[in-house]
């Protein structure tokens, strides 16, 4: 049995006191324990940003890569070893800014990846610039008169791009977040867990008070059917007095990318023997150019 202790890391997080990343780290560890996944049985791929340092703060197998590129690295990792589950963890600037194209492409490919986005709607590590999910008019060092850009809407975007599991959590709702990450782990194919997370240092307008007053759980909403894609798309736009969290959309599982690659039918690529070509193969290859 896997226990919390198995994930105890040597390093203490460098995040600010009150940062939502602490809860996300705890939620991930708790979900892994709940689903009996040991530290060597899941591969973390993270980008760059405060939150992307997460695998350093627990005992884990991980690759802390470049800003925006975690899904691309994760794609290669999945294709080389689809026997090893992959979780990407990165921020909103990383995933919806620098890595926006990889986000949409990972979705349409439907690789079996759990994609956890630490969405604090601001750049933290670079000190408070507006992010892809910042609201229009946000005043920051790079937008002193208020930002003109409209925000990226990750949930409707994911639904439109073809994701079959689209969820939003909130770092102030730990148990709920553990449940969401667990459901994402069980889902075959790409699963988005966008996590609302206060940045207590650079984004005071979205502090705990703001979210605590507004968030509500979709599973408590009578009549809400996460299998209804159109309803999910509409619900994914709700943002104001009430902010929904939970599973917005859970569609029928469709074949993952990995399942459809002919070379992977024989098992994970890195577990297939790597040997010299046989005489027959060499003969056939030579015949092609003779």
């Amino acid at each position: 049995m896997v226990t919390r202790k198995d994930f105890e890391g040597k390093e203490r997080p460098t995040w600010c006191t009150g940062c939502g990343n602490h809860a996300i780290l705890n939620a991930i560890k708790m979900a892994l324990v709940e689903h009996n996944i040991a530290p060597h049985e899941i591969f973390f791929v993270t980008g760059i940003g405060c939150g992307s340092k997460l695998p350093h703060y627990m005992k884990s197998t991980g690759f802390h890569t470049l800003h925006g590129r975690s899904l691309a690295v994760a794609t290669g990792a999945r294709l080389a070893n689809h026997g090893l589950p992959v979780m990407t963890v990165h921020g909103d600037g990383d995933g919806y800014g620098e890595g926006l194209s990889h986000f949409l492409n990972a979705i349409r490919r439907n690789l079996n990846i759990v994609d956890v986005v630490q969405d604090n709607r601001i750049y933290g590590l670079t000190k408070g610039q507006y992010s892809p999910t910042s609201e229009r008019g946000k005043r920051t060092p790079t937008s002193p008169e208020g930002s003109i850009d409209g925000p990226v809407e990750p949930l409707p975007m994911a639904i439109t791009a073809g994701a079959t599991f689209v969820a939003r959590g909130y770092s102030g709702e730990l148990k709920h977040l553990v449940w969401l990450i667990g459901e994402a782990l069980k889902h075959p194919g790409y699963a988005l867990v966008d996590v609302l997370q206060p940045c207590v240092t650079f984004n005071r307008s979205y502090a705990y008070d703001f979210y605590n007053e507004r968030v509500y759980k979709l599973e408590d909403e009578e009549g809400y059917d996460p299998a209804d894609r159109t309803a999910a798309w509409e619900k994914a736009h709700e943002w104001g007095e009430r902010i929904p969290i939970g599973i917005f959309y859970r569609g029928e599982a469709i074949p993952t990318y990995e399942e459809q690659v002919p070379a992977l039918k024989a098992g994970p690529l890195v577990q297939q023997p790597l040997e010299k070509l046989t005489h027959e193969q060499i003969g056939a290859l030579r015949a092609e150019v003779t």
Binding site: H64, L79, A80, L84, N105, V289
Partner: protein, 581 residues
């Protein structure tokens, strides 16, 4: 009568099927026992413009294209206009009798042969587009080449399209041959098949490199299409299912290399084929492979830059960029094959270098090497010498015995740290693109930084001895030694032959394919043997000249550069020899 030494050029617009029919004819010549050098010349467009395919054939091995033409197969008048001055006296132009033949293009020493190319294609094959095949049939008739070889290639190439297509092509060839025969008496050049010649291969650098990479265990290829690099992805995609490889046409080059790094990190031998523009996008990730010591292979088929430059043309302009691409300092290997034989060999060697040194390894090919076809003996690609050396990669048994905590970046005497792949309970660690300590944790400690920098640098000690050594061609003692790298090998080799035919011991050449690290001792010994030295390279600033000077202090006596987007020819080099003093 001059036998088995001629060049056939077929020209027309893009979309006329020049390359495929030209390559088919080159195959027929190869099967007929002749050696071929085939070179497509095309523009970056799908229709229109002017493309041509040159097929040089001889009874001895060929290494280069040359500039003259013996038979010009003109599918449009533009072809005559552009190439008529290249035709040798006594040569022939085959053109469609429905095309007008402008008076000003006429040459009294060339036979202009009007043939109903379109009419025969339509009548015998049912499609006007088959007139390229009619024209090649005419060339066979004109030169007296045994058509059974063309028929064999047609049967093989079109078999999967059905017997009707095969028959139509055979009828069209026959009609072309019949139309060509009457002109033969006035044509002094012949192609005589050598019936008992051993079977040989006809392939270009793209195919040779891909074959080498596959033989060397490459099982993951990610790329974004870019001329002239993407044919490597096409080749692997066509062979993926059968040979157990995964190919991924990525959303962009940044994704492609990051995918390859992800696959390489997991333990697959991963390749990213591209051209200069794509490689430019990859450089941040190249540094990721550098600092995380992840093996990855990048194949850059160079084309003239900057930016879009000339997509379908040739240049060796990316060398210095490749040596230093990405911020910071980290070791890498850079190799540049010059021939299809070297492309194959480097194709597997580069994966051993990447894994042994746990570093990015880069192959600099170029448009010329990638697209030019050459006939070689079947043993020219030596599959027997292929080795798969995975370096300090921990086996399952070694991982089982590993004591925690695992130090992925352990500071060792060799600088190489035993490498685990994820998934084993004894090797649970995080790698980071930040500077890190021996365990992989982020570290800004000054002593640690220096230790890790030293470790990464130290692991390359001795790597220069693993690199291909410079190779000589020509007489041991020569007045002038011509230096080159990459695909300039072929044209320069033939230039050296021409110079020595004029005057014995006038020239030899020294070709480099291991560029970084330069094989120190071998380079020093080789350069010590040279008298006067002239560098020959396809760029304007003398990039290899600078590399050589930087790493060895060696200063050449002169240089020949070409940077008009075209590869060297032997003639071009011989015409531009720096004055001998």
């Amino acid at each position: 009568m001059i036998e088995n030494n001629l060049i056939i050029r077929i020209g027309g617009e893009a979309g006329m099927g020049l390359e495929s029919s030209g390559a088919g004819f080159a195959s027929a010549l190869t099967r007929g026992g002749l050696y071929v050098f085939g070179l497509p010349d095309y523009y970056s467009r799908v229709r229109g413009g002017h493309n041509f395919f040159s097929i040089r054939a001889a009874s001895q091995p060929l290494y280069s294209h040359t500039e003259s033409v013996h038979v010009l197969l003109a599918l449009d008048t533009e072809t005559i206009r552009r190439h008529v001055d290249k035709i040798v006296p006594g040569g022939a132009v085959i053109y469609d009798e429905k095309d007008e033949m402008p008076e000003d293009l006429h040459r009294p020493d060339v036979n202009f042969c009007a043939v109903p190319l379109s009419a025969l294609a339509t009548e015998k094959g049912g499609r006007e587009v088959m007139r390229n095949t009619v024209a090649l049939g005419v060339a066979a008739g004109l030169t007296g080449f045994d058509t059974s070889y063309m028929e064999g290639v047609i049967r093989d190439n079109f078999a999967r399209k059905g017997q009707d297509v095969v028959d139509a092509n055979l009828r069209v060839v026959e009609a072309g041959v019949e139309a060509g025969c009457p002109f033969r008496d006035d044509f002094p050049f012949r192609l005589e098949a050598i019936p008992n010649a051993p079977p040989r291969m006809l392939l270009n650098g793209t195919e040779a490199f891909s074959l080498g990479a596959l033989a060397g265990g490459c099982r993951f290829v990610a790329a974004y299409p870019m001329t002239p690099g993407s044919p490597v992805l096409h080749w692997f995609a066509a062979h993926a299912a059968e040979y157990g490889a995964v190919t991924k046409h990525a959303e962009d080059e940044i994704a492609a290399i990051n995918m390859a790094i992800g696959a390489g990190y997991m333990g697959a031998r991963a390749l990213v084929p591209t051209s200069g523009g794509g490689f430019s996008l990859m450089v941040e990730a190249l540094g990721l492979a550098g600092i995380t010591e992840t093996p990855v292979v990048v194949y850059n088929a160079q084309r003239p830059g900057p930016a879009t430059g000339m997509p379908t043309r040739n240049e060796q302009g990316d060398l210095l960029f490749t040596l230093y691409a990405s911020q910071g300092e980290f070791p890498r290997c850079v190799l540049a094959p010059g021939t299809v034989e070297q492309a194959f060999r480097i194709g597997w060697q580069v994966f051993n270098l990447a894994e042994r040194y746990q570093a990015p390894a880069l192959v600099l090919s170029d448009h010329y090497l990638a697209v030019a076809y050459r006939t070689v003996e079947t043993d020219a690609l030596d599959f027997g010498e292929v080795t798969i050396d995975r370096g300090a990669l921990l086996t399952q048994e070694e991982l089982d015995k590993l004591e925690e905590p695992y130090q992925r970046f352990q500071v060792t005497e060799s600088g190489l740290s035993p490498r685990a792949v994820p998934g084993h309970p004894n090797a649970v660690w995080v790698t980071t693109a930040n500077e890190h300590d021996e365990y992989g944790a982020i570290s800004e400690d000054a002593a640690n930084r220096a230790a890790q920098m030293d470790k990464r640098a130290r692991k390359m000690a001795g790597a220069d001895r693993e690199m291909p050594e410079p190779s000589w061609y020509g007489p041991e003692e020569a007045k002038t030694t011509y230096l080159c790298w990459g695909s300039t090998y072929g044209p320069l080799r033939e230039a050296v032959d021409r110079l020595n035919a004029e005057e014995p011991n006038r020239a030899n050449m020294l070709h480099f394919s291991g560029l970084l690290p330069l094989p120190d001792d071998a380079t020093e010994t080789a350069l010590g043997r040279a008298n006067r030295t002239i560098m020959v390279e396809v760029n304007s600033t003398g990039q290899f000249e600078l590399l050589l000077r930087t790493y060895t202090g060696f200063v050449v006596d002169g240089a020949i550069h070409r940077y008009d987007g075209r590869p060297f020819t032997p003639e071009y080099i011989v015409d531009r020899l720096p004055e001998e003093v």
